[in-house]
Symmetry: C2
Subunit: 403 residues, 2 copies
């Protein structure tokens, strides 16, 4: 390979040429605001990471060993595109066990992460020029998935008032115009912990029905609730053949973020099933079958582990909220669900600057609120899913740095 070609333009010019040759959508695809801090801090010695949506426990042994057994048995050929039948059945049984919803296994599509569940759904429903109304602040990747279809996201911010996050439904409905194809909701919500109440779910359902809109609902944190026995799933309030897509993942419930397996429940429809099979084929051609056997173990034998993880998060929430509430500059609302504390620091308006400063000064990694779209700037997100000793150390560092 010879780089000393006299006919070549200077390096900077050639790099600019490469950039100009990209598709404009890709060249303008936003870098994740969370990754901006991760990339800033991940190589710095001693920084404790609370920036991502995961704790510090590896995947439980019973899940790993089920995948290992399947791998050793030779389940290493092209997988079923929509998931192995056992896993689709196990998801259906899990939904039935935890929610008042009876989902047929054919409605369950296994995906290569919750992210892919969202991406394939947006690919299926939203095209150039369409709009999706998104309740924010929210996990930012939905905005990017919409951008990748050359569609527009219209955020409707939650309001933080009277010690709670609230959604103004009239504002949500007013945001829906003639180009709106779908509403995206994440409840329980990342990063706020907001939970949509059942009566509001019914109003949203009725509005979507009347307007012919899709509801895309991210219920990834459906098990992480603290002040009520359980949440209601949208699957409980809508019919099997309505325009509802419910997104989920194995990542959070069973400490499997590194497995990249999720699922989606689609309407009961042969046509939609074929569309999701096609999308699976053309995106990644399925999820490794041997990993799916591990997922079956998680669903079948993982309720006790899940319960203990939720309990750990409940204690983590108390620790983080109680200690940070002692800092005069901190304003916080106890989250109702998920496993994040989303808090403000008085006098700090640029959350990315603050997050980087905390990496350097407190050796603690948080996600900047600006990463989560409209309504997020001025906040920081702390994941409290880590084990108690780790979380305590990190929180005390934060308290000291912000005091």
């Amino acid at each position: 390979m010879d780089n000393a070609n006299n006919t070549q333009a200077p390096e900077a010019q050639r790099q600019a040429h490469l950039l100009a040759a990209l598709r404009p959508m890709a060249a303008t695809l936003p870098e994740s605001g969370i990754m901006a801090v991760v990339n800033y801090g991940s190589e710095k010695a001693g920084v404790m990471p609370f920036w991502a949506g995961e704790g510090d426990a590896p995947t439980p042994v019973f899940i790993a060993e089920a995948a290992i057994e399947a791998l050793r048995q030779g389940h290493t050929f092209y997988p079923h595109l929509c998931g192995i039948p056992q896993l689709r059945q196990a998801v259906a049984a899990y939904v039935r066990r935890h929610f008042l919803a009876n989902v047929a296994p054919e409605r369950v599509i296994i995906t290569g992460s919750g992210m892919q569940a969202i991406m394939q759904t947006v690919q299926a429903l939203v095209g150039p020029g369409d709009e999706v109304v998104v309740v924010s602040p929210v996990w930012p990747n939905i905005f990017a998935a919409i951008h990748m279809q050359e569609a527009e996201a219209r955020p409707v911010p939650l309001q933080c008032a009277q010690n709670a996050w609230r959604l103004d439904l009239d504002r949500l409905f007013d945001a829906c115009g003639p180009k709106t194809r779908a509403l995206f909701l994440n409840t329980p919500g990342n990063p706020t912990g907001w939970i949509m109440e059942p009566e509001d779910m019914l109003r949203v359902r009725d509005f979507a029905r009347a307007r012919g809109l899709w509801l895309i609902v991210d219920e990834v944190y459906g098990q992480f609730v603290y002040d009520r026995p359980r949440v209601t799933s949208f699957l409980e309030v809508m019919e099997p053949d309505e325009q509802l897509i419910v997104v989920n993942t194995f990542s959070k419930n069973w400490s499997m973020t590194g497995w990249r397996v999720g699922w989606v429940v689609i309407p009961h429809s042969r046509v939609l099933g074929q569309v999701y099979e096609n999308l699976a084929l053309y995106n990644t051609s399925g999820v490794p079958a041997f990993l799916q056997y591990g997922c079956v173990a998680a669903l079948t034998d993982g309720d006790a582990y899940l319960k203990s993880l939720v309990e750990q998060c409940r204690q983590g929430r108390a620790l983080a909220c109680e200690r940070l509430a002692t800092v005069p500059r901190v304003r916080l609302v106890w989250p109702q669900g998920a496993f994040y504390l989303f808090f403000q620091v008085e006098g700090e308006s640029d959350s990315l600057v603050l997050a980087k400063r905390l990496v350097d000064e407190a050796q603690v990694g948080l996600a900047p609120g600006s990463a989560f779209g409209a309504g997020g700037e001025g906040f920081l997100r702390l994941c409290f899913a880590a084990s108690p000793a780790t979380l305590r150390t990190g929180v005390e560092r934060l308290v000291a740095a912000l005091a």
Copy 2:
């Protein structure tokens, strides 16, 4: 869940409503012509599958055990978006060892399958209204990936004449118009085994340079060559910062189709690296780290396995070609590369009908040529990567059925 809601429209009407509510791109996304036969035959007892691009050997133990060790060590957290550093380095070393190209590890992006490598590349380069010129017949998923961007594929068929597949370069260049953004080449090619000669590579390179076009080159079968010591990679004839993307996968070389891991070599460019990191984040957020340790083992310790697999395919090619050449109705060209025999049967013009009939009458599963785009109809594709005894049984069934 109550299905007996009086206000509901009849089932057929609601299903039509769901279909109409889909994005038109998704509703018109083609079902794979290969899957059409797989879905037809996979549940039928005794059918031998030669329809997919895989043999019958599970992944070698040394690769599986490396992944198992990493899984047990707890590599189960969110992965590096572009791949673990060890794997990116191992790919660079592999390329250096097998080809005359020196690729920096930063240019290597690990992807969730070769399919995802193609999908992310098309997402990065091709938008609505753009065109991609594709040498066909070819693995059909590239057409679908282009369709998913609401772009157009313009196929340029190879010609089968004088006992070889040939590409008319003038025809290729004439197909490139003002909307053309990229050329897609698969060499050695699936399904034909065609290999682009080095002098043609230079002409294509010069044309792409002059016109500012991207070259997307699928070199997945770069090791499967039979009548020459090795093939030349496009990485050998282009500079590191030119508009070249080379796609590859672990699937074929090391019997890892079920792992869904691939890689792509991108130009040397910080901006492009960031774009691919973003695309990784928003598609699936990376590939499981513990699987990547298995991939490191494949690259580092897998040359001998690869060599034996290529040798098995060489014998498979001979067996399939020699036996099928004895059937008077069969017309075939010995493939120069890849591991498929792409052959015609006189008097059979509908390859999907014929493939289904062979499932029923010969209990052999082949892929219909119509699945591979322009120039493919009238052919059948047989994968000869299986072990000798299995392949022999299947070929003899075919010979008997077609005689």
